[in-house]
Symmetry: C2
Subunit: 359 residues, 2 copies
Amino acid sequence: MLYETFEKIYSLEAAGKKITKLNVGEPDWRPPIAAIKAAQNALSKGKDKYGSSYGELTLREKLAQLHGCSAKNIVITPGSKWGVYSLLRLHLSAGDNAVVFSPHWSAYSLMCQSFGTEARLVNLKMENGWKPDLCALASAIDSKTKMLVLNSPCNPTSAAFSEGDERKIIEIVRDRGVTVLSDDAYRGLLFEKRKDRLLEENLLIANTFSKTFGMTGWRIGYAVVPEEIAKKMVSLNQITFTNVPLFIQAGAEKALEDKEKFAAKVRKLCVQRAGIATKKLRGHFEFSKPEAGFYLFPKLPDEIDTMKFLDRMLDSGFAMVPGGAFGDFGQHFRVSLCREKETISIACDTMVETLEGFC
Amino acid sequence: MLYETFEKIYSLEAAGKKITKLNVGEPDWRPPIAAIKAAQNALSKGKDKYGSSYGELTLREKLAQLHGCSAKNIVITPGSKWGVYSLLRLHLSAGDNAVVFSPHWSAYSLMCQSFGTEARLVNLKMENGWKPDLCALASAIDSKTKMLVLNSPCNPTSAAFSEGDERKIIEIVRDRGVTVLSDDAYRGLLFEKRKDRLLEENLLIANTFSKTFGMTGWRIGYAVVPEEIAKKMVSLNQITFTNVPLFIQAGAEKALEDKEKFAAKVRKLCVQRAGIATKKLRGHFEFSKPEAGFYLFPKLPDEIDTMKFLDRMLDSGFAMVPGGAFGDFGQHFRVSLCREKETISIACDTMVETLEGFC
């Protein structure tokens, strides 16, 4: 449903309709200028031939430092999406399941489905601030559970589990012999900064340059995994995409140099935007206080049809995603606040007016 | 074995050893300068956000013209490798098989293996100029055969089936209800030029910008397939790599503008290089006359151990790939002639000297 929405909007745009895409989880900020220049220079210098399916050693060494491990534990991937996909694929066989907290990024379910496996959803509650339900987690795990996807901060809710809760989850799951796959795409955009996650036993990490650095379309991320799993990922990389282009890796390596400063700047921007939307929408829609990134996941009153609401919003030129794309949350919708403050303000006003139009 | 060789050499290089990599199927020519500039400009202009998982419409329209079809039949992929991988994956279920003429690019076998399927090899003979064995093909097909991989021109032999033979193959296979997947990576480098393959019933095409345009590390190719299959490919793209970066697509689109002239130039270069190597090696090694691209696949005398021969060549600074990486052809080795004429000349002299050193 998520991707169908995207393709529908690409078609509308190709037909000339002007749409403000609050549906896409895509920063509107540019990547660091130095990263763009580094990629351009690398292209000029002919760094555009085949490379190792592990990724470039210099880049992997820098990433290893952040995650308290060796370069042998780092594999460069086309986005964290490929990290998640390949790690699920390497751990799940037909009939197995992966436990996933929901609301959740629909790609997890689609990936599991594509392997003949189950994404076993543990539904969380907005009333509890989307905090993890540890009892439900423990009950969901069975002998066929091979993986738990830790999606904190969460797309679409922008809720983050506390470090204490994350620790409890990792331990519950480890005791049951299940591997944790932490999708850290939004970790760099936590409103209260945390350090990069360290590699530890039974924990795999997928991360990306997309969100923090605004490098979505560069398609570069990385996995932090034990050496043996890195080798398996590389074998899969070799028969699929080969390697992330070297000039893209050169840009990413440059971006890392300025990581702290750049991240602080965009984090501040995210906080401001979330503040504006929260103020405008509060009292009209129910939603939890965002703790990271750029999504809100508001709930519509029960009597309102979500698809009709979103269609009216699309008529007004704003695209958003129905909550059904993120699990059993059909009464919600996801709005991405990756626009200028004025646009966010107008979009929120339009949401409120559209809502009132139903009454 | 192919990819192990590559990673081993990347390590040796990282340790400072100077190696002439005649192992990699990688043109030494630069992409069209206009393509590099187009990619750099696109980066400057912020064409670095998410795009359609089909690929950019303008690029797909240009490719559709070449292949006698609609843009709806074109899907942009990270290399032809992803085209081959995803099309095999979409057509084969566990227990199925794909028939492949061998010697063959080892990725086909590794891909099939990764799905729990079989790459059923039809071994061809150097004495017959690696021409297709149609009887063996017919016998290889059974009720579990879902696909035939048409690898002409062939990596590693650089032999090409005649257009008449290709037609016969397509018809034999179609009558048996099997889909042909044509890997056209080297078609643009046929010494006797043929037009791009047209889309037709029961035929799928994977192609790439890598070889003709020297854009290996850009990771961009495309598939030419019926609309329904394009949709399925897009669904897989959406949950794996999302899209080939838009700035890379912009470069590829620019490269196409000068395709005929550029291809003619590099084709001429390939013919010259093949001529030099053929002249130097003839009488010392057995091999078939190359008809495309930049490989030779010479056979060593029976009494010589291929791995020892290749190790001695590596000691002399030349990396090549053992024939065992391409099927049941352990007495052969693959040499890639993607170097200056002088280097090819020295490499061939070294091969002859190394061979004589065994006697």
